[in-house]
């Protein structure tokens, strides 16, 4: 069935659209690329807007719902604007045994935001994540997909200061 008879949203830069379309044309089952396409668009805009979800659906001949099902399932797809630095705090078993809660509390008080929020200067977003496989460095966090750990409040302060300095 053709899900997408609507008008094409003109949000994607022509170059990105062409490269995605070419990539999609090369595979037998286009929908296997849905996560890659979502990431490519998120890399461009920082997050995946409603228009972007619809665009992905159109590119892959899926319904917007099917894209949304995946977009909202995966932690690293952001359906809202996020800060320059996205901090994912691991809350799974090993990090929990090593005290991730104090790390999380420290981040919340230091940044003055709750989990899921972004600082008013647009620098930091705080999000939970389930096990990221760095149990040997627990408690661990990811900042823009780069891992930090094992962490202490002091180390965190240092990391945040460095990032602030970079602006």
């Amino acid at each position: 069935m053709d899900h997408n008879e609507d008008v094409i949203h003109p949000m994607l830069p022509a170059k990105l659209r062409t490269s995605l379309a070419e990539h999609i044309a090369r595979v037998d089952h286009p929908r296997e690329l849905v996560v890659d396409v979502m990431f490519a668009i998120q890399d461009q805009f920082g997050f995946l807007s409603d228009e972007a979800v619809e665009e992905v659906a159109q590119l892959l001949n899926m319904s917007p719902l099917e894209v949304e099902e995946l977009a909202t399932f995966y932690t690293f797809i952001y359906r809202e604007p996020v800060g320059k630095y996205v901090i994912h705090v691991c809350d799974s078993v090993v990090c929990w045994m090593d005290g991730y809660e104090s790390i999380q509390d420290h981040l919340r008080s230091k940044l003055g935001i709750e989990m899921g929020e972004t600082t008013s200067d647009g620098l930091f977003t705080l999000l939970p994540v389930c096990c990221i496989g760095y149990c040997d460095r627990s408690p661990a966090i990811l900042i823009n997909k780069e891992v930090y750990g094992p962490l202490t409040p002091e180390k965190l302060d240092e990391i945040l200061e460095n990032l602030r300095a970079q602006g």
Partner: protein
Amino acid sequence: MPKLIIDDREIEVPAGTKVIEAAERLGIKIPRFCYHPGLGSVGACRVCAVKFLEGPFKGVQMSCMIDAKDGMVVSTTDEEAVNFRQYVIEWLMLNHPHDCPVCDEGGHCLLQDMTVSGGHGIRRYLGLKRTYHDQYLGPLVQHEMNRCIHCYRCSRFYQEFTGYHDLGVMQIGSRTFFGRYQDGTLESPFAGNLSDICPTGVYTDKPSRFFGRRWDYQRSPSICINCSLGCHTVASGRYREVVRQEARYSEAVNGYFICDRGRYGFFYTSNEERPRQALVDGKEVSYDQAIREAREKLGELIKSTGPDAVACVSSERSSLETQAMLKKICQTKGWQGPHYFLDESMAQKVKSASSRLESGLAVSLRELESADFILVIGADPVNEAPMLALAMRQAQRRGGKIAVIDPRPVSLPFEFHHLNVTPNEVNLCASLLVKTAVDLGAATDLEQPGIEFYQAIPKLETVSSSLQEQIAKVAQELKESKRPIIVCGTETVRQTTPALAADHALLLQATNKQAGLFYLLPGANSFSASLLASEDGSFLETLEGIENGTIKGLILVERDLLLHFHDRQRMELAFEKLELLVVLDYVNSRTQQRAHIFLPTSTLYEAGGIFITQEGRLQVVPRAHLSGTPIAQVSGGNHPPRIYESEIPGGEPRPGWQALAELVHEEPQPDENTTRSSVLNGLSELNPAFATIPAIDELPEDGMRVSSPEESSPRFSLDWIHELERKESPDKSLELVLVNWTFSTEELSQYSPPLMKLEKEAAVFMHVDDATSLGLSDSDKVTILLDRGALEASVSVKENMAPGIIVMPRHRLLEWQKIETLPKFVSHEEIKKVSV
């Protein structure tokens, strides 16, 4: 067949049966949420845990995930299993809002049942509950996500089972949300089933919201008469009206589900405008007086001009009893008719379908699900009979391949080959396909006429090379199939197509395939009408008789001529010439309003009746409630008026067969049940095919097939080839193809307020090449000049349809009845773009 012991009782079940089903056969209902026999097992909700004491599995396991095996000993009452289930229910209930008093599901809620039976009586969780924003899902289904226990039945049904993709599951963990991407009407024509399968009140029936509890309703088994499939339903009535209809399980017909046209098509019966009082010249009179006057006037008429000055017309929505009574009356009185079909070509198509449906070929709708190849010849399943599309979807999910030969822009919720040839090429294309797939050498017991039939099929080279390629590709799949089924429509195909479809099924059988045949007919009781239809004369001749004055009296039984006949103006003029127009009906049709004498008849829900589906399955419908104006209409929303009478207000309508019996007999008639029995007892005199039917109360649950005795109906006719030679399409003109849509075209569901909200705008479809040469683009408004004037519609430009045709829906809001003769061709000059 494995034998196992469940709760100390032994049972033998077919291999592959899950333990949860085996227990159900013993009458033990193991709790379940995610498991549904129609959807299968996923083992997600963990509430069907039982303890395996002996056999290949040990300990607490999910009974929906484990096949019954020899030597298993299972306990559903073991303490460990009972505790396990109790905890599962307790955590499923953590976030449930406990709003049963205001929830429409209350009283038939699986979650209520499981909570109570699981032993979770006291709430321990004191934390905050998660809450959601609900969505608008359209006029049929009400959304209330807070009640959700995340069993996934809805998204599995919607996406996997029906193949639609606008409802599903989003988010993760405790935020998991079932719904649409955005608020909006659900796209699936099977969406109403969500209310049935949801184990709690997340999806409830919107039109009957807050009307009553399950135990308040008079629930009665019924069937759907909104198409020819005859799906099983449960009608729920209260306060003298049917307010809700649900799917009823049927092994042979519809399985667990029904479509939304069938579920919500019943509102005609409680329509406020429905005429419930007998009328003479528009004035309300008593039933008996109306009958007396009708009898007198008929008597005068016959006295002056003879019995053949009276003609009778009925329809495909009348019960077998009513159809048969009319037939009997015409025979004994010498009146003309009865005609059940207006179009002689349609009458012939249905006749050949009903006579060619041999018992060795006929398959039921459920059997269609096991086909490994389905060839559709001239049918548009979603639009004509939605449940057919759902059955085909199941075949496709099991790996079956599907090809559709149809000129319309057919859309189905799964992958299929569409051979969008012109109406003239449908027969040829189907024949070429079968010929390419069938190896005559392998046809062991094919008789001589069959061989000649095969040899008479033209060469593949007679069609365009692109079509050749498509046919070859599809033929290869047909060749590899073991259980191919041919589905043949009657709506848009040529007169020879139904017989041709049967011959092709025979050809496939001759090559050792387990081939089947499945027809679609135009109405709920077309099959029965065709068994009863009179051999001589057609409706058109009757119409001419009225016009030239030989027919002076017309009796219309549950038939709206001004809706169905293709030339409304001509019909209206004919009505004016009539000396007597008697109408018996249960809807306020245009035709009913023209009657000199009108007799209200009961609906299916008030009278019951017998209907024969397109596969010849005779099904009996019992009465759901007595005739009467719904209390909501009598009382205007307040307490009903305190008037004491022995009659039910608005209870005048009588079953069609009874009203007819009274109409023709001077002497007092026995009650309607006696009359009904005597009609049914005389059926075999009207057609020997009825001789095999047992008494009504001995019929099996799923009804039974009427086996047509006409084994002699000619096989392997070559008429279709002669038809090919008569190509009459005038140059450059477009053939008008009148079609049905899921909503807005079927007669009875046109009276349904919730379905009206689902109607699409009346648009005509045109191939992109035709549109281009006419200078039209998508959504343009055009006027199309027909024989009796112009009509306006918007144009939908399609690539996936045949060129050379205009596909026009018989839409409720489109006055298409302006056609002098069918087939109708429209020239380019007659199509004009309307400039805005």
